[in-house]
């Protein structure tokens, strides 16, 4: 279970998060929605322990991650899978080696076993035959799917998705969302997803939190968010030009 308590974070004097609190139950997926630059990715990085809060706590299974020693934090992180916005693949490694990397470096597994697991992960994301290609030789959608395979290959308990469909064409974006859904069904991970693909993401999450100007404005089921009468939520969900959200 993920619990965020009263999280504050500033960058160069600019306060991005102003007291965020929320909770994601075991096996549940939470969608974080909100305008660009409102701190959604910053929350994800706090959950992963990549950023240290100015104030507040992030608890994973009731353990405050910043109370852990570095080695313990590294061990905790191995329970995470993180799909980065850019994919964050290692450019000097092939698709196969990128997916195999966490297994080779963190698990005591035979090369044969690694090969089997990597090929299964690549098969799941529809990337059979691309294993010898380098990131520079594949499309944006394939990069995202490779990154998804890499984050799943270690069977993570917690998955964090940072805009998994940004920059992809609608068909590929749909494929990625379906993949996340089917993998969630298969593995039952706890997840947080940051996305602007509201209609598709709402089909696979149990809870949605709307972030606005550093605070969680409202939180509820996808149906509750869709029917919300809050003018900010309404404008964001419908994409209306007129409303209280200031374009910056």
């Amino acid at each position: 279970m993920i619990r965020i308590e009263n999280l504050y974070k500033s960058f160069n004097g600019f306060e991005v998060l102003k007291g965020i609190s929320c909770q994601v139950a075991q096996g549940e997926i939470l969608a974080l929605i909100g305008g660009s630059g409102h701190g959604k990715s910053v929350i994800l990085k706090h959950v992963a322990g990549l950023l240290k809060p100015d104030r507040g706590r992030v608890l994973i299974d009731e353990i405050d991650i910043w109370s852990l020693r570095r080695v313990e934090l590294e061990q905790l992180r191995s329970r995470f899978g993180f799909l980065f916005q850019s994919g964050a693949l290692f450019s000097s490694l092939t698709v196969f080696d990128n997916v195999a990397f966490p297994l080779r470096e963190t698990r005591k597994m035979s090369e044969e076993e690694i090969r089997k697991r990597v090929m299964t992960a690549l098969d799941q994301v529809g990337l059979q035959g691309a294993e010898d290609k380098y990131p520079a030789q594949i499309s944006g959608g394939m990069i995202k799917r490779t990154a998804l395979a890499r984050s799943l290959v270690g069977n993570p308990e917690i998955m964090l998705f940072d805009e998994p469909t940004t920059g992809l064409d609608p068909v590929i974006a749909h494929t990625i969302i379906n993949l996340i859904q089917s993998i969630h069904k298969a593995y039952g991970f706890t997840g947080v997803i940051v996305s602007h693909e509201l209609s598709r993401v709402f089909q696979i999450v149990q809870k949605v939190a709307m972030l606005h100007e550093g605070v969680i404005l409202t939180m509820g089921s996808p149906a509750e968010i869709t029917s919300s009468q809050d003018p900010v939520v309404r404008q964001f969900v419908t994409g209306a030009l007129e409303g209280p959200i200031k374009i910056r």
Binding site: K45, A48, L50, E74, Q75, L76, R77, S78, F80, G81, F82, F84, Q85, S86, A88, L89, F90, S91, F101, P102, E105, T106, G154
Partner: protein, 244 residues
């Protein structure tokens, strides 16, 4: 205050790198890859720089010594200048330009494209994978590159002094053996070893804390080359005062 904070962060980066250097496992395959990149791939540029530096020293040395009627000392003059000073310093400056800038750009791009975050998320320490192998490779490669520079430079001086001017082969090498001590060679080795640390530390640090976007990486790369070059010259002065 700002400068003090930056210096503190750089010092902390250095301390962390050494901490992970002595905490096994050392990623040998990554070290070898870096030796190939920093060392082997710099050989040609070191060879060319060494040759021309030696040739210039031969030429300038001959005309200067000729004024005092002591052209017989051309060999020791070329060798001592190269081994004690020019070899370590010029090799380090060339490696900074060729490999140091690439080091900063590589780590900087990994930083802005979230590859360093990805490493951390896998429970892997970026220092162990990205910085320590470069440090070890720098400590091994720089003394070897400097040795190549020195040898090629001495033969460059020989080419000019013996083949073009009228210094005898026996005089060139014989006097060199008389005037050159083991201490001189060791001083060159110490210098190049410390320059290896200096270059990899500065360039990795600048990449690790590169700013946002392409502009951030390009600024970091420029700063790394400038800072590393200035530190090499400063440290060279410190070591020269301490060693001789």
């Amino acid at each position: 205050m700002f400068i003090l904070r930056r210096m503190g962060r750089m010092g902390l980066f250095f301390a962390k790198t050494w901490y992970y250097l002595f905490r096994p496992p050392l990623k040998m395959s990554w070290v070898i890859k870096q030796i190939w990149f920093i060392g082997t791939q710099s050989t040609l540029v070191i060879f060319l720089t060494g040759a021309f530096t030696g040739m210039v020293l031969g030429l300038q040395g001959y005309y200067t010594l000729n004024r005092f009627g002591s052209t017989a000392l051309l060999g020791p003059m070329v060798a001592l200048s190269l081994i004690r000073e020019l070899g370590p310093v010029l090799s380090a400056l060339m490696v900074t330009g060729r490999a140091g800038s690439a080091m900063t750009a590589e780590i900087g791009i990994m930083r802005i494209s979230e590859q360093i975050d990805a490493l951390e998320l896998m429970g892997l320490n970026p220092y162990r994978y990205l910085v320590v192998p470069k440090l070890v490779a720098g400590m091994i490669s720089l003394p070897l590159l400097t040795a190549i520079f020195d040898v090629v430079g001495i033969f460059g001086g020989y080419l000019i002094g013996v083949n073009l001017l009228d210094v005898g082969t026996g005089t060139y090498f014989g006097e060199m053996a008389n005037y050159l001590d083991l201490e001189d060679v060791l001083a060159g080795v110490y210098k190049s070893f410390s320059f290896g640390i200096l270059i990899t530390w500065t360039c990795s640090y600048k990449g690790y804390y590169a700013g946002f976007g392409a502009e951030g990486v390009s600024k970091a790369t420029t700063q790394a080359v400038v800072l590393s070059s200035v530190l090499i010259l400063f440290w060279d002065y410190v070591m020269t005062s301490a060693l001789f």
